[in-house]
Symmetry: C2
Subunit: 324 residues, 2 copies
């Protein structure tokens, strides 16, 4: 149910161990979706957990403490969008070397909650011996969850918005430059596509849905793996964020950058185009077809002339550690 990457191998082995330990126990029927998707779904609630650590997932010389809290919260809430759930509440834990930092991060968490329509349901503050740690559990209402696993051979792959904005900011910081306002905003203040996901799900459009946190290639591979298919991405179709426009690596950033928090979904051919105008009018944002699903496994890139190639490593590179 997970794509490529060492961290996913660890999780696969642990889940196997967990299943062997629970062998013989009947699964709780209230658990509608278990591990392997963006959220677990229990009764009508979607639940997700997201751990962000300074030096791995974010750097404090890039953003002040409040935006770090905002961003971590928005990233967790985006996992609700990935199930077509709507946010209800957030539980937040923050560890920091001093109380002032913890409080600033928590204010950012609270601001994100207010902006995204979630109540702050609980908080836990502790000391850290070093890095700032931000720990967000989000809960949403989810009557009609859309999993990663429902895609069919022949389905088209679509994305919302444009990709590579956050990755452009990271690339600029890593090069010692100051990102443009557009790039910085894409990184610091992601806007989870909550209303968009619900709107699509209400119309029964997505057969499989994910949010773009690991990069388009990585997340398309998650949909492909969960659905037992191969994803084929047409690089020249991928909508590049305005902040990346003109860069030589713009398409690479859009394909692999991650942290866009846009949606990627599969849909039967011809079901999306009749809705494009209404979607654009309602959300001020485009839907773009970026590829398709076919029998097989993994993810492939397809050039404009039809040449297929392996895209190389897909795994999320922890930007704060370097890379890109």
């Amino acid at each position: 149910m997970l794509g490529e990457g060492a961290e996913f191998d660890v999780i696969r082995r642990v889940l196997k161990h967990a299943r062997s330990r629970m062998a013989g126990h009947a699964s709780d029927p209230r658990i509608r979706i278990g591990p392997g998707d963006d959220c677990a779904v229990v009764d009508g609630l979607a639940l997700t957990l997201d751990l962000s650590i300074e030096g791995i997932h974010f750097r404090r010389d890039w953003l002040d403490d409040e935006p770090c809290g905002y961003r971590a919260t928005a990233a967790a809430v985006s996992d609700l969008a990935a199930m077509a759930a709507l946010p209800m509440g957030v539980l937040a834990g923050v560890a920091a070397p001093d109380g002032g930092t913890a409080e600033a991060v928590m204010r950012g968490v609270a601001d994100a909650c207010a902006t995204l329509g979630a109540e702050l349901l609980g908080g836990d503050v502790s000391r850290s011996p070093g890095p700032v740690v931000i720990d967000i559990a989000a809960v949403g209402s989810c009557d009609r969850p859309v999993a990663r696993s429902g895609a069919h051979p022949g389905d088209e792959l679509w994305v919302t918005g444009s990709l590579g904005g956050a990755a452009t900011a990271v690339a600029e910081w890593l090069a010692g430059r100051v990102p443009s306002d557009a790039a910085r905003a894409a990184y610091a203040r992601p806007a989870p596509r909550l209303a968009e996901a619900s709107w699509l799900a209400e119309r029964g459009i997505p057969s499989a849905l994910i949010d773009l946190s690991d990069g388009l290639l990585g997340d398309a591979s998650h949909i492909a793996a969960a659905s037992g298919l191969r994803a084929v991405i047409e690089a020249e179709r991928v909508p590049v964020h305005e902040a990346a426009a003109g860069r030589a690596d713009a398409v690479e950033l859009a394909l692999r950058g991650g942290e866009d928090y846009e949606l990627c979904f599969a849909a039967t051919p011809d079901t999306v185009p009749p809705h494009l105008a209404e979607f654009a009018a309602r959300f001020g944002s485009a839907l773009t077809r970026v590829g398709r699903l076919e029998p097989g496994e993994g993810v492939m890139l397809r050039d404009a002339d039809g040449t297929m190639s392996q895209p190389g490593a897909l795994g999320y590179r922890h930007f704060a550690e370097g890379g890109s």
Copy 2:
């Protein structure tokens, strides 16, 4: 709704900020219990989040990695017991300097899930730049939540089991000695009082309920603050764990040690004694009256001769940092 201590002051200020940001929004009626208790309760589900950081909440020279994962999970699940909820599932995030450590911690998480009757609903593994970080969200079914806030003046305060065992292990480690097996087990393998809490709640016994994570004085102060009362603890009544017996500081460890994961609850006088024999027969464990609630605020100690005194600092001392 929270007791003393600097971390609680931060949380209070953040929750005030969050409320000001949400002013004018109607609260979601599905949120039955919001911040300030051991769990939030949304529809019929109790939700809790617990962040454990190496060097603050645990030390890896005291326990191997698997027991660290087990213990962090049991501690989080104990917050379900504190609402009289029963565990359904756990979401776990682990960050570690290497994949082998992360996997060992996660195996301990999975073992605790199997032992405690929770499904592992999701996992997230990442690198850490230093300390091991364990992040547990637990979800339980909670048709009849028992909050901290329901105690009345004159109610008695009761505890399950005996206290100070985990603190004895920590005191021994900090003194450079090897703890007894009993002390080590109390620290490494806490047994959340899930069935006990449900049994008590089914009988309508507790007017207020909490689990003992911060130490009896600290947690009694949480019940007192949430209920608008003062807690009076009778030190000579407090049941001391066998591992602490004979130590000069045994009563102090039982009063302040924390991490016992026993229950503390308030009950109308004379409602508990008729159930003592059945409780003992069913759970192999005692219920002990340790004090009462009265008008006022804070927490006081009452000697055998009736002298009242302020207990001094109550806040949870992060043992792994030293202290006790």
